[in-house]
Point group: C2
Chain length 122, copies 2
Amino acid sequence: MTSAPTLDEGLAARLKRDANGLVAAIIQQHDTGEVLMLGWMDDVALHRTLTGGRVTFYSRSRREYWRKGDTSGNVQWVKSAALDCDGDALLITVDQVGPACHTGTRSCFDGRSLDVVTGSRP
Amino acid sequence: MTSAPTLDEGLAARLKRDANGLVAAIIQQHDTGEVLMLGWMDDVALHRTLTGGRVTFYSRSRREYWRKGDTSGNVQWVKSAALDCDGDALLITVDQVGPACHTGTRSCFDGRSLDVVTGSRP
């Protein structure tokens, strides 16, 4: 079976895109549950991600498609994908090769904690 | 010590907000690693989240602040927060009371899987 050249119409109808035509894509390591990064996808990037075995983003700053790992080698192998209840966020689980962050940290959040007042159940 | 009435200036300077003044906030259950939902925060919502012990979002559809659980009881107790390398995404870990999704599922992604071609390391 060959995959369709464009995103499934039913899925496309469920997407709630921002003003730039993008939805947020949360990237999570499939086995550890670690949240690695947040990227952005338009219909084409999502279609490529769902059908190509590797994650493709749309870069807002560079205005181009970007298949994670093509230059860095830090490939994201796709394990699962889900679209949230209101259609504006994707959760993609992956097997991340090497660091996910362009700064070299495993995740884009590592070492970037904010001061917080924690809360607890009464 | 009383908290400052507005967001820390250094942190505010690191935020890369979208056209609506918002950054994406990934909400993750602190102990299981489950990604529960994606919400949106402006400076005020982030400040309230960092200082109030519970997660506050800005609702794009209702155009108002929304402290999760005030009406549903499904409170998100804040455990940690981090801002990513390029300042456009937050990772907030929480203790989620009850379902995170307004539809009643534990996460906003549960039961909403997409068909995907998986990939693997060669």
